[in-house]
Symmetry: C3
Subunit: 279 residues, 3 copies
């Protein structure tokens, strides 16, 4: 059946996923600041992959290898994520709702970032949890709350029907983040102390907590929230946070694990809890 005029209008001001890939690809390619924020990460992720493969070659214990694979997956997911953004496949053009500072304007929305954080950030938490010698319940809490944070952050970024509901999803995402912070700041430090990895865990936890707090702040200040920063600057903000919270984080972690494999070389704590209780 033939479409009505209303349906056309509806369609075009529709879901961010509708924007044409080719058009978005051209817009990104022609904006040097924006595209450099993406290519810088592709280059650094590629370099990190090679470096991490080399660093993990001699690891022997199961727990150290698990930490290594989790850390290696971070730049692997990132390189795919940024290639997706560069191609335009995971970038939409959003018409902002009434109330938003850019209401009615079309804004480039790299929603693929949120999608891929859903896969990469659990790897960071898995590596940190294994380092701290966590049990299943705490790791399950950290990972599920983290996935909840990323998925609701994706929803916050994609809503175009209501400015209020964008912030409602922002608030839900932050609530999930609070649960992640609780595990990082209250639960795991004691585990790490008991496991003899308190010092390195403390360093990496501080790095993670401080940098991860940057993401919601950037959301609020950037195009998605109050729009005090433009698209390219917002993108560079996320890219810089990703560089520090992902590649630098994983490098520091792997360097320590490679030099101190004996400290994490014992039993896998995720399997060991029960056994210990039975002894």
């Amino acid at each position: 059946m033939p479409p009505t005029a209303t349906q056309f209008t509806a369609l075009v001001s529709s879901l961010p996923l509708q924007a044409t890939q080719g058009e978005v690809f051209d817009r990104i390619a022609s904006d040097v600041v924006l595209s450099s924020s993406l290519w810088a990460n592709i280059a650094l992720a590629g370099f990190s992959i090679l470096l991490f493969v080399a660093m993990g070659r001699n690891l022997q214990s199961e727990r150290a290898k698990l930490i290594w694979v989790a850390a290696l997956l971070v730049p692997l997911v990132s390189i795919a994520s940024y290639a997706g953004l560069v191609s335009g496949l995971t970038v939409g053009v959003l018409t902002m709702p009434p109330g938003h500072p850019l209401a009615g304007q079309e804004v480039l929305q790299p929603w693929g970032r949120y999608l891929t954080w859903t896969f990469s950030t659990p790897m960071i938490l898995l590596a940190l949890g294994l380092l701290a010698g966590t049990d299943r319940a705490k790791l399950f809490t950290a990972v599920t709350m983290d996935v909840g944070m990323c998925v609701t952050g994706l929803a916050a970024a994609l809503i175009t029907s209501s400015y209020l509901l964008r912030w409602v999803f922002f608030a839900i995402s932050c609530a999930f983040f609070v649960a992640v912070l609780y595990v990082l700041l209250v639960e795991w430090p004691a585990d790490a102390q008991a496991a003899g990895t308190g010092e390195i865990f403390g360093t990496l936890r501080n790095l993670t907590v401080v940098l991860w707090l940057g993401y919601p702040i950037l959301w609020a200040l950037g195009v998605e929230g109050f729009a005090l920063l433009d698209v390219a600057v917002t993108s560079w903000g996320y890219s810089a946070l990703d560089i520090l919270a992902k590649y630098v984080f994983a490098f520091l972690l792997l360097r320590w694990v490679a030099a101190n494999e004996r400290s994490v070389g014992g039993a896998d704590p995720l399997a060991g809890t029960t056994t210990t209780a039975d002894d």
Copy 2:
């Protein structure tokens, strides 16, 4: 290249994801019965989150904590799910295929329900399985079959090309459901008896089985199937089932766990199977 007239027609009668968010948002907001079916769940999910956090504060054992986090994730996923429906982000406008009672008409399709059940229902099964003291193989079966049920239910709801294939996917989804029912009715009762949690497991299992049977029945009677019920009544049906099968279920479970932590305070059965076999 410029689009042809055929392509436009094709596009507009296309995937349900195409409906404009803003338009759907307005349609939902202007239908009091429909929107109340969504807001009632947002309110109840929010209340459940606060209540469950309070109820779980003093849990100590790993297994009790795992049950608690799984139960807490149910309203957390729900509040995000219903906020997504209210915003129109996860609601489409579907043109029903020939053969369907509403063939050729456009129908609001809140497909986000199926998507989020994919995340919330495994948590219910995880909590039930931990309560019953299940092993990995049975829990893996229950969770994977449940995810299969939800994803194929999503497909059933999104198909607009063939009335027959809507029911084919309904049948596939029911086949997955039969596998879930097998674990709930045949496998876990014996485990729970052995674990000393037979009585509470029996109560919660009956609640779950009866209520979960309501979902495919509602699908068949509602807009998605024979269309004997209209959109708003169908939505209230799902919302009422969600209230009972999710918040009331989780409340009863957590109340019992909080009062009987010693009964589930032993070893995590998922880790314990092998250890027991070695004794």
Copy 3:
């Protein structure tokens, strides 16, 4: 706000997900070679499900049951996958980018294959890993790298903005595949030897490695790459690989497990690593 002409053009040459389901359904139904490549798999997957249920009836040990459920999930996911392709729900119409042999032409793209491989191939690796008696670190590596391979393969198939970036994603997907091959060819054979399942593992591993190498070759030769094969032949290629790598593979595995349950009847190796280390 009313759409501009540019926006219409943009939309129509847009994401592959845009193609109308009904139109795609008709195109598939009217192409006997193409539709037979899909229906043949629906029939074989259905037959495999019934056969596998019968074959696994008498399994007792947890490990054997886990292998059985993983193997059973392969045709279960497949039947849903092929029903989705037949309906047109998971098939798009893609306009190929400049540089591609079919540049500017619209091509049917059954992207649902990649989506469902993300769920079915980890089951194959889980079954193989359990057969080999792997530890968590190796299984985690195999499964995460496999999911990375499938998701980036999906991206490669969906990119319409740049011919180069299609091949970049192809290369990233192959890099993930190399990691999977490393586990299959280097890590697990030694485990299987130690576990006493070396012979059957070797057979099934060879079958898997040879057949899985067929997928990227077919991608390169088929419509998605150099377009030396047409849509229907490409589809038959994938369907034939699926028949051998999924149903025949799972049948051989289950036949062996049913006849040799004692060999895999011991402790679940995923739980057992730590316990053994404690002995």
